[in-house]
Amino acid sequence: MPIHLTINGKHVTAPEGATILEAARANGIDIPTLCHHPDLSNIGACRMCVVSVEKARGVQTACTTPAAEGMVVNTMSPEAIETRKFVLEMLLTDHPNDCMTCEVNGDCELQDLVYDYNVKWPEHNGKRHQYEIDPDPNPFIFIDRNKCILCARCIRACDEIQNRSVWNFANRGFETKLVAGADQLLLDAYCESCGQCVAYCPVGALFDKMSLGKGRIMQVKKVRTTCSYCGVGCNFDLNIRNGQIVRVTSAPDAPVNGMALCVKGRYGYDYVHHPDRLTRPMVRAKWLDADTVAEQVKSGQWALFTEAQQRRASLSYRRTSGNGKSPAQDSQSEITPDTFVKTDWDTALDVVARKFTQVKKDHGGDAFALLASAKCTNEENFIFNKFTRQMLATHSIDHCARL
């Protein structure tokens, strides 16, 4: 049975069991939040979402209070606003004044609310936490506890979505501190580096380490894409700056996965700009006509890729940690039968077609066995199936996901 209530003078209905916050948001009325996230359980910790409810004492947290029939709610009562301002001010008294260089400047829920409620920077000589910045050597997750507002979203994301329960709070009161495991390093605390905690952090306390200093929200363009790693079809946003992918961020409206991503989807994008990445088909020299090779290389259509070059490329990549620049070409190298030649698709596919036909002629279709990939789409796998059974004439086809 739907519930009827009044929020800021507006009559609204909400489904049974809805909180005041859900009822308000569903009706276009915003209530500020920090510890709340629609994907996570509600704990009512941050006190930002307080509203006044007629006949109730004090203020109530909209994220935890169920909407009730006949309830009269004022989301902008003087008490609610005063409480929010106080909470924000208190949070700032234990927060670095660092927005200028902060990674999440412009993409920070705390910053936005401080702006919305016009809270001034509180000067004081009292205690502030001085935690070591980036104390954890793991390659993916950057931690700055000085910015942590103890909203517990990371804790709940890891526990409720990822089921790893890596994070928790230690100690109590002002000394409450976010820790992994028993105050261990993330990887020792069974972290699988999925980055969910980072995605749910409303401030810059947790951040993607690979993206440090690579560009902030207003400097990047977000491009929605589907993950190329497996067939689940997760969506996320590539954050592009100067034609380079600098970060992957969750897309809350992703139909398959929501905010969730695995370590590969979120952090496995460095291959895109990696020098080792195959961008053209390569064929060993022995399968090509030697004269054509010499001619095409000379004209610059094709290129040689020696082992020495290969080694140097990955070394320099590691040194500059993937800035995408290739090392200088080595023109002096000698062609052996096993040297890879960067050719064009027609040439390469011709070689494949020629050899398939030969094998089929000599040994019959059953000489082939084909393995499809979980990374391919259904359509691609359909074509693959047709190709196997009709062209190669074999039933020996399988799929990597069965291995």
């Binding site: 526990d159 790893r164 329960s165 890596v166 994070w167 928790n168 709070f169 230690a170 100690n171 109590r172 820790v179 992994a180 495991g181 028993a182 105050d183 261990q184 605390a189």
Partner: protein, 161 residues
């Protein structure tokens, strides 16, 4: 299966505890209490062991162990002096006792002397306010404590000078 480890801790002392609480919901706190009774404090190995055996994430075990004042994650002194700073005791002179400790042994509440001889702790009200200020030395409750008596007790019962 006896395991030696960094702190040479006999983890299988805990087997009996797990046997007793194995089935009980929400038994983490009593298990931690029993563990502390066995080892005197809660070394990291024990926390990990409890996490594994009770199938509770270690982050939760740690979060609980650090929340409650009763649990110690570090080894404590051979002798423990607890001074009550509950209201009655505070009014009747605990701060003076603390100053004496600070002056003589450079000990602040919560600290242990370097030779691991004495740990000093503050507790809030031992329920013997009529005897305020109250000190507990190694479990013996001593009422109406004065600076001199306190320092004498420490001299008599520990190796400290």
């Amino acid at each position: 299966m006896s395991k030696t480890n960094q702190h040479d801790i006999e983890l299988n002392l805990m087997d009996e505890v797990f046997a007793q609480y194995g089935e009980e919901k929400g038994a983490l706190i009593p298990v931690l209490q029993k563990a502390q009774a066995l080892y005197g404090y809660l070394p990291p190995e024990v926390l990990q062991h409890i996490s594994r055996r009770m199938k509770i994430p270690v982050s939760k075990v740690y979060g609980v162990a650090t929340f409650y004042a009763q649990f110690y994650l570090e080894r404590r002194g051979r002798h423990v002096l607890r001074l009550c700073d509950g209201t009655a005791c505070h009014v009747k002179g605990t701060p003076i006792l603390l100053t004496a400790l600070e002056d003589h042994y450079h000990l602040q509440p919560g600290e242990t002397t370097e030779d691991n001889e004495l740990t000093v702790e503050i507790v809030y009200c031992l329920g013997s306010c009529a005897l305020a200020p109250v000190a507990v030395f190694d479990g013996t409750v001593m009422g109406r404590m004065k600076q001199k008596t306190l320092l004498n007790t420490i001299k008599k019962r520990t190796d400290l000078k």
